[in-house]
């Protein structure tokens, strides 16, 4: 396993890279470089990045299992929180720049327009995941329950893809690409879950909780401090 120092530095690099799309949009607004319909551009860009970060988050577990790089898990929370971060920006763009706080109109949208309903569902499902993303919440809920809760990301990601699919007029290439990636990532889980179940039946003693995988392998208090010492990641994970 890589040293903690390397992981910390890598985390900072990934954190800064993840702010890239936001930086591009902010730069574009100030340089009038987002095309003739900047609000639409912001909506589409933030929407794309939610799906990209959700896919990245969901690819950590398969990658970890394939590469045996256990330390990959240490990047998962940050990626997930960035999905939530861009979801907040996307949602804010909708209520502020697009609808301009016209709440009756938005309620109508959420209720009547299937693609908005799907997108709204995807967003709402991410909220509890962001809130309970801290080590403290993992402890409070207990690993199994925490893990059950965080499976909501599967539904959220699927709802996000459906939101995109129902939104486009006729060219469905991009939503289908996201859909395919999601399908592969979820199928991997299904298949590897089935394989593990078969193995467990053969060797019942090997049933150590997956919680061990989730929590950092050093002692818990020290790791919490480590997380605390990285203000950017921590500030994002605060509810």
């Amino acid at each position: 396993m890589r040293s903690l120092f390397t992981i910390k530095r890598l985390k900072i690099v990934i954190f800064l890279l993840s702010l890239g799309p936001l930086a591009y949009l902010v730069w574009g607004v100030f340089h009038d470089n987002l095309g003739p319909n900047p609000i639409e551009k912001i909506t589409h860009e933030t929407g794309d990045w939610i799906l990209i970060f959700l896919m990245l988050t969901l690819s950590i577990t398969p990658l970890r299992k394939i590469t045996h790089l256990q330390s990959l898990i240490r990047f998962r929370r940050m990626l997930g929180l960035f999905a939530f971060f861009y979801a907040c920006l996307h949602f804010t763009t909708y209520i502020w720049l697009d609808k301009f706080f016209d709440f009756p109109e938005m309620v109508k949208d959420v209720g009547m327009r299937p693609f908005i309903t799907a997108g709204f569902t995807a967003f709402v499902l991410l909220i509890p995941l962001a809130v309970t993303s801290t080590a403290g919440w993992i402890r409070r809920l207990g690993g199994k329950r925490w893990q059950m809760l965080h499976r909501l990301i599967y539904i959220s990601a699927a709802a996000g893809v459906v939101h995109y699919l129902w939104l486009v007029k006729s060219d469905i290439r991009k939503p289908l690409q996201y859909g395919t990636v999601l399908l592969v990532l979820l199928s991997y889980r299904l298949v590897s879950g089935l394989v593990e179940n078969l193995r467990k039946k053969k060797a019942p003693e090997k049933t150590r909780s997956e919680l061990v995988m989730l929590l950092p392998q050093k002692t818990l208090p020290r790791t919490t401090k480590e997380i605390g010492s990285l203000p950017p990641s921590n500030s994002l994970s605060e509810p």
Partner: protein, 320 residues
């Protein structure tokens, strides 16, 4: 028929095209302009060069029209870099890129069907068919954005009269040029091609319905439907079919591409109507490109005085 005799807005007073620069170019040339000013060089020399690159052939003898809207025109760059022309890609910025080498000359338009004088018009004949007029129209897209464009052309009725439709001509069907070699991105569009559209005969004959050959005083850019298209300002933008190669007069209502693709979303009439939502989004408001706040969408896109009587007695929720 009421045709509002609105005050002409001299287009030259609105946005002199050769002076138009987007803010970014403006900022980057500001420093250069300052230097030039100090050196005593006319600023127009500097502004003219990059902004005019790639502009089309200038059209001569354009008359102003009393049918023009008295509204602020969108910059040329908006109208040429934000297009729906699915044959050249489905993203708004793709037609500008992928229609660059579209061959629009020589060009012919076949007029056939229920007419006494079917004819194959070439584009040069069309350009000289009637005096060219500038018509400043609002264009409202079904996707809830809008622009104001100074089109150049003449009423479609000028062409229709020349071919003498018979009494059986109840509808007009239009067809866009299609060639997979020139339009390879059409394969991703998800709609059938060639693109087809249609109008009822009285709609086609209405003076507002424009046979359009240019905009901003020049020949149409490829991405905006060169070399000839129609513009029907009280209907959603997709009705204003581009790059026309065939016009057919017939008794039956013709199929339309979006109607074939999603019948519950796009009707034959597709008149702009804030009270009939598209199933997936509201049509009550629209964003005029370049504006932050949305504006209310007007019935018939603000042309109700001129065209509402065409639909008197029709249930516009049924015939959307």
């Amino acid at each position: 028929m009421l045709i509002g005799n609105r005050k002409d807005i001299p287009y030259s007073e609105v946005t002199p095209k050769n002076l138009y620069l987007n803010r970014r170019k403006f900022l980057s040339s500001a420093a250069a302009a300052g230097t030039a000013f100090l050196a005593g060089q006319p600023i127009t020399d500097l502004l003219a060069s990059p902004a005019q690159a790639g502009r089309g052939k200038k059209l001569e003898g354009i008359k102003k029209s009393s049918l023009s809207a008295n509204e602020k025109i969108n910059p040329f760059d908006d109208v040429t870099n934000y297009n729906n022309f699915y044959e050249f890609g489905t993203a708004k910025d793709e037609p500008a890129k992928y229609a660059k080498n579209f061959k629009t000359y020589p060009w012919t338009v076949k007029v056939e069907g229920e007419v006494n004088k079917p004819e194959l018009f070439d584009i040069d004949t069309i350009l000289k068919m009637a005096p060219l007029e500038e018509r400043i129209y609002r264009l409202r897209c079904v996707e809830a954005w809008s622009v104001v464009i100074p089109w150049v052309g003449f009423s479609l009725s000028e062409l229709i009269r020349r071919v003498e439709p018979t009494s059986k001509a109840k509808f007009v069907a239009f067809e866009t040029f299609f060639d997979m070699k020139q339009m390879p991105r059409a394969r991703f569009a998800g709609i059938p091609f060639p693109y087809v559209e249609g109008l009822r005969m009285d709609e086609a004959m209405h003076p507002l319905t424009l046979l359009c050959v240019g905009m901003y005083g020049e020949a149409l850019p490829n991405q905006d439907g060169a070399p000839v298209r129609i513009v029907v300002p009280w209907k959603y933008g997709f009705k204003s079919i581009k790059s026309i190669v065939k016009i057919r007069f017939q008794e039956k209502q013709p199929p339309t591409t979006w109607g074939l693709s999603a019948p519950n979303e796009y009707g034959f009439y597709s008149n702009v109507n804030p009270n009939v939502d598209h199933p997936r989004w509201s049509q009550a408001t629209e964003r005029r490109l370049g504006e932050f706040f949305k504006r209310k969408t007007l019935p018939f896109n603000g042309y109700a005085d001129q065209v509402a009587q065409l639909y008197s007695g029709m249930d516009l929720k049924k015939y959307y």
